[in-house]
Symmetry: D2
Subunit: 91 residues, 4 copies
């Protein structure tokens, strides 16, 4: 059992769409489309990935981190989640 | 002819890898992998997309924007590229 | 009592330095310094602010959010912290 | 003469406001204000700094980079500006 079980289908649907966006960007490059249009699509894709990250992060806080805190064992869990949040923030 | 012609193959190779990373993340979710590990992969993916954006942006500046400036027509081109850079910065 | 009490002095020292950096950037503009050099300083400043945010966020998770979770009241607290994390990520 | 001469006053006014925001955040910490409220203010501050960066970047493209390109010397100038844009994007 994992924390994002309830969001699993929504996450998969989002990632399926992300995959389609990646293919779309490859086609734009193949077709020699205008750079700013491609850059706009990549920026939309990054935004979509941020949403996936935020959903996973919320599941993780509500699941594993909450469990760890209730087991009086939150410290390591919070340190770990901060490490991940730093990576998301700093890209 | 488009500005990123010379980088076309490198860009496609990068996007091919990005596509693989997206599939990898879907598999991680399917396998019920640990949230922080998935979040780390998404953050790597966002980093890879940033690189694609920066390559395209450099091509655009060296190509279209340079041409526009040499044709004494840089103003609109710079306004347009700033619009795109803002999107990349603000996600 | 607030969650970041222990980090209060470290946070103030960091923000004091941030204030100095802002003054330094104003002086660079006053002196007509080269744009890329100023941009580099602003980017360092943004990085310094990110560190302050991450310290506050960790204190908040270890303090208020942990307390809320232990009081079986974590849900609203996690929703609130996600709202803030989103703002930090999306700038 | 520097590229952002025309924006000098607007930039200084923005940075003056940024300085006030930094002082405001220090006061919030001194007053023991609630973490998420402080984090929200820091995120507004980062947003304000992004605007300053984007103004400077546009001035730089319209000024120095345009001059370099017109002098058939754009390559080094574009390489340099990309280096700075990368720093802004990656924080």
């Amino acid at each position: 059992m994992y924390a994002y079980e309830e969001q699993r289908e929504a996450l998969m649907a989002r990632l399926k769409r992300v995959e389609g966006q990646v293919k779309g960007i490859m086609k734009m490059i193949d077709d020699g489309r205008y750079c700013p249009d491609i850059l706009q699509q990549i920026s939309a894709l990054t935004g979509a990935l941020d949403e996936v990250s935020l959903i996973l992060l919320e599941s993780h806080l509500s699941g594993c981190v909450t469990d760890a805190i209730q087991a009086k064992n939150g410290e390591a869990s919070i340190r770990e989640v901060m490490h991940v949040i730093r990576k998301v923030v700093k890209r």
